[in-house]
């Protein structure tokens, strides 16, 4: 609980804030290249955010105060959620404040207000987006929790720092439970961040939208906050997967060299992960909405299998 630890937590949160748009730009660029287009510059998301922040905010006559408060709540909750993820170093004081179940809770809080904001103006698209988002998340959240429980039961702790530390200490052991949990968590991450094949972030067809439909009425700085929160969430899932399942490289001591190494390794891991994401997004088409439950059931079954194989095969040994 040293001041240095809290300082590091602050720096990591800032890194998340600054890095999230960059990663969004990276995935767009790779996708463009794969589709034989040149694509926007890597810095385009920053320019978009900057432009939105400078613009005037519009609100419908029928919007309530909740509509105005929701962007701050969604952004703030996502920001607090990312602050408890060990990005560079293992020993993170914020991980003790809120464990991994609370992390799921923060994301659920952000989603709750996002969906409410979608219903606030009283347009059909907003309600449609909210309804679909809640369906997807209702099926994805249990899968996420099961994956998290597998990790927590193995490490006998729900503290994210302890889980990462446990995986570092355990070395390169092939655990069936972890493989299942990893597969399930990847599927959940794709669904929760609104990527293909569950949702399409680039869609302009109103009837196929989920996330975009909910923020349809937002403009100006409110829209910027919503977009930024979505980018943060995407990065959060990427970091969570890479840090928990492939923790190697993360700093265990607070020396500048260890932190620099951790930073380099992290960028490498994220770039590779996003490359995979871009390739799969290029290769797949978006599913019909009612195929999404099957997809999420698969994620849930995988994570449940992971938990079973942990309690049956690995626990107590």
């Amino acid at each position: 609980m040293s001041p240095a630890g809290w300082g590091l937590a602050l720096v990591q949160t800032l890194l998340f804030l600054l890095g999230a748009p960059l990663l969004a730009g990276w995935v767009k660029r790779v996708k463009s290249r794969l589709q034989n287009r040149r694509g926007p510059s890597l810095l385009q998301p920053y320019q978009d955010l900057g432009k939105l922040f400078a613009k005037e905010a519009l609100m419908a006559h029928s919007a309530s105060p909740l509509f105005r408060a929701a962007p701050y709540i969604v952004f703030g909750s996502t920001l607090v959620a990312v602050s408890i993820i060990p990005l560079l170093a293992v020993s993170l004081p914020t991980a003790a404040v809120a464990d991994v179940i609370v992390l799921v809770g923060f994301l659920a809080l952000a989603r709750f207000f996002l969906a409410l904001a979608g219903m606030d103006v009283g347009t059909a698209f907003g309600g449609m987006g909210a309804s679909r988002e809640m369906l997807v998340s209702a099926l994805a959240e249990p899968a996420m929790l099961m994956a998290v429980f597998t990790l927590a039961m193995s490490a006998q702790s729900t503290n994210l720092s302890s889980v990462v530390q446990f995986n570092l200490d355990a070395g390169l052991a092939l655990r069936p439970s972890f493989m299942f949990a990893l597969m399930g968590l990847v599927l959940v991450a794709i669904a929760e961040t609104g990527r293909i094949p569950v949702d399409n972030p680039a869609t302009h067809l109103e009837l196929t939208m989920i996330h975009e439909a909910m923020i349809l009425e937002y403009s100006g700085r409110h829209l910027a906050l919503m977009e930024w929160a979505a980018q943060l969430k995407l990065m959060l899932y990427g970091v969570l997967i890479s840090v928990v399942f492939l923790p190697w490289g993360i700093a265990t001591r607070m020396t500048p060299s260890a932190l620099a190494l951790a930073f380099g390794v992290l960028i490498l891991k994220l770039m590779v992960l996003w490359l995979v994401l871009a390739v799969t997004e290029t290769g797949l088409a978006k599913m019909r909405l009612f195929r999404a439950p099957q997809y999420l059931n698969l994620a849930f079954l995988l994570t449940l299998l992971g938990l079973f194989s942990h309690v049956m095969l690995e626990a107590g040994t």
């Binding site: 179940i101 909210a130 439950p293």
Partner: protein
């Protein structure tokens, strides 16, 4: 000067009874109910809170004997930690209802229904609940239990001019008595082995495992019936919504908890020697109740009925905690059993608070708009800002989102489930994760359901004329809701203080408390050990407020303050009107389709006489057809068989009498 908490509790009971008596005059002088009866009820609630808190702060078990009852069976009362906790809970809700009630009952003053009945039975209802938790012998317990059940029956059937209310009342009465019969038999088993009807005698009873299991099954059925576990829950969503809203709050918020109290008292205290098999049964039934409760809630568009189904869900979550606790207690892990018990108790008080709050909010909407159907609501947040704010707090709490109270108890339940590796048995070890998965699904679906409720009722545009003209309710009604909303927040951010209070209960029942839960100071909740899991609710709240505050401050400076109002964009189509909004039924349609097998869906499109296509959708409870109707048919058939005896001919009756005499003689000889 009164110092004895039991005397305070006695005064609380007397005040509730006085409130009932005063109400008898309300038919002649209507202000009596608003003015005096509700004040007495509020005082009774306040005293219950003080009495309950004082036994939780300084653990004690105070007993006394009342000069009532039968000569050889005097009524005994006892106030210990468990009773004190439930007394506190009854007191909190009664106080909130007493603040809210005067405004709400005003509308009945010009109706045809008797005010004396409303006030009188409310007072008796509270008296009954207080006496149930104070009772220390089976005789007083059953008398108080019946007082509670019967007076609440009259409240359910209060507006009896509607046929639906009469039907709901009858169903409620029937189910309450089948349950009570089972509880009575359960006490009978204990009394048989303990040679006495006092709880003290029952505690010392030595039961062999088979009889103990019989007693457990009887108690589980009886208390489960009253608390609304699936599949015997069907009466609950019929009965709770039709009572006046402040009574619905008491029924869902407190009466179900009194049944949970009875179950805990019976199993953990009187029966003892918990077997792991019981834990499995409770866990399985609890998990199914939680999931089915929330799924059926999603299908409702009557606001109060929806809330009643959520009571089924939350009772399920409480029983998941209890089941885990019994499972760990039966396999020799007292620390984990204590954790499960604390999680269940925490959820008990949380559910009382947020469900009370939500029912009061639904009552406020009903009061101003006379609407229970969500499809007619919309845009209420701008018309009833305070009710809207309090209702939002209730929605966040019940959806188990941080930093409110529902999250803490769900977090504790998950922490208990995560200790499943401590069990030796592989089957049990894999049963718990399934239950945890169902709990996770329940939580996520509950969030979906309350997005639907709040989004359809409070956001968007009004869908009917009464709702368009809605105004916020009187100060007293807001105060009742505000009190509960504040408690929801406090219980969410100060879990260490609450866990410390609750700790006396597992210490008394299981001989083990959560010694390390609060050992790191008031900021940190560490249920088992700081290395296993920790949660700092105050810091979480601070972090959230800081993140919201900084982002809002940053963006609200100078030129960014202005917001221009315009028409909704809606992708550039024509300006949306209220009928183009998503409805509650439409919102739940994807979930209805995904979980279609679990519902009995009756959907049809027919062409009416005027040539218009008519779409009708009816989702009903499968438990009704699977359990209730067969039992009902069986009862009628049995009745017909016995009815054949009644032939009307004297010779036949004499023949039966002779036959019976012969059989009896044969038995005796």
């Amino acid at each position: 000067m009164l110092t004895n908490p039991l005397e305070l509790a006695g005064m609380a009971v007397a005040l509730a009874l006085a409130s009932a008596l005063v109400s008898l005059l309300a038919d002649r002088y209507p202000p009596m109910l608003r003015g005096i009866a509700m004040t007495l009820l509020g005082l009774s609630g306040g005293l219950s809170v003080i009495a309950g808190l004082s036994v939780l702060v300084t653990p004690a078990a105070i007993t006394a004997q009342l000069p009532l009852g039968l000569p050889w069976l005097p009524w005994q009362v006892r106030l210990d930690g468990l009773a004190g906790f439930f007394l506190l809970l009854i007191g909190l809700l009664t106080t909130a209802v007493a603040l809210y009630g005067p405004g709400y009952v005003r509308e009945f003053e010009h109706g045809r229904d008797s005010l004396a009945a409303l006030g009188g039975f409310t007072g008796l209802f509270v008296t009954g609940m207080q006496l149930v938790v104070l009772a220390d012998d089976a005789f007083l317990f059953m008398v108080a239990w019946e007082l509670m059940s019967l007076s609440s029956y009259f409240l359910v059937a209060y507006q009896h001019e509607h046929a639906a209310n009469r039907r709901a009342g009858f169903l409620y009465l029937l189910m309450a008595h089948i349950g009570a019969l089972s509880i009575l038999l359960g006490y009978g088993v204990l009394a048989g082995f303990g040679h006495g009807f006092s709880f003290a005698a029952m505690r010392t009873a030595e039961l062999d495992p088979t009889w103990a299991s019989v007693a457990f099954v009887l108690a589980f059925f009886g208390f489960g019936m009253k608390s609304g576990l699936v599949p015997i829950h069907v009466w609950l969503p019929e009965a709770h919504p039709v009572a006046p809203s402040h009574i619905s709050a008491l029924m869902s918020g407190v009466m179900l908890k009194v049944a949970v109290y009875g179950f805990m008292r019976f199993c953990f205290d009187l029966l003892g020697n918990i077997q792991p098999g019981w834990g499995v049964a409770v866990l399985v039934v609890g998990s199914i109740s939680a999931l089915m409760g929330v799924l059926y809630a999603l299908m409702q568009h009557d606001l109060k009925r929806l809330l009643a189904y959520h009571s089924v869900e939350n009772i399920g979550i409480i029983f998941i905690g209890l089941g885990l606790s019994m499972l760990f207690a039966g396999t020799g892990h007292p620390l984990l059993a204590a954790l499960g018990l604390v999680a269940a108790l925490y959820h008990t008080i949380n559910h009382a608070l947020f469900k009370g709050l939500l029912f009061l909010g639904a009552g406020a909407i009903l009061h101003t708009t006379h609407q229970r159907d969500m499809e007619q609501m919309g845009g209420l947040l701008r018309r009833m800002p305070w009710t809207g704010l309090f209702f939002l707090i209730g929605c966040i709490s019940i959806s188990a989102l941080p930093p409110f109270n529902g999250f803490v108890s769900e977090w504790l339940t998950f922490q208990t489930a995560l200790q499943a590796w401590a069990l030796e048995n592989g089957v049990l070890r894999s049963l718990i994760p399934i239950s945890a998965a169902m709990l996770a699904l329940t939580g996520a679906l509950a969030a979906a359901c309350f997005v639907k409720v709040y989004g359809v009722a409070f956001l968007g545009q009004p869908r009917s004329k009464q709702v368009r003209k809605a105004k916020d309710v009187s100060r007293g009604m807001l105060a009742g809701q505000g009190l509960l909303a504040l408690l929801c927040l406090l219980l969410g951010i100060l879990p260490t203080a609450i866990v410390e209070l609750l700790n006396t209960i597992p210490e008394a029942l299981l001989g083990q408390g959560l010694s390390k839960a609060t050992s790191h100071g008031w900021l940190w909740l560490t249920p088992i050990d700081a290395s296993v899991a920790s949660y700092s609710a105050p810091l979480v709240l601070l972090g959230l407020l800081a993140a919201w505050g900084i982002s809002a401050w940053w963006l609200r400076r100078g030129k960014w303050r202005e917001i221009r109002r315009c028409d909704a964009w809606d992708c550039g189509f024509s300006a949306p009107n209220a009928r183009m909004q998503y409805t509650a039924t439409a919102f739940a349609q994807p979930i209805r389709r995904v979980f279609g097998l679990l519902f009995h869906i009756d959907e049809s499109v027919t062409r009416g006489g005027d040539g218009w296509l008519k779409h009708s959708l009816h989702v009903s409870d499968r438990a009704w057809g699977l359990f209730y109707e067969p039992v009902g048919r069986l009862a009628i058939q049995a009745g017909r068989l016995v009815g054949r005896l009644q032939s009307g001919s004297v010779r036949n009756y004499l023949g039966w009498t002779l036959g019976t005499l012969l059989v009896l003689l044969w038995v005796i000889s």
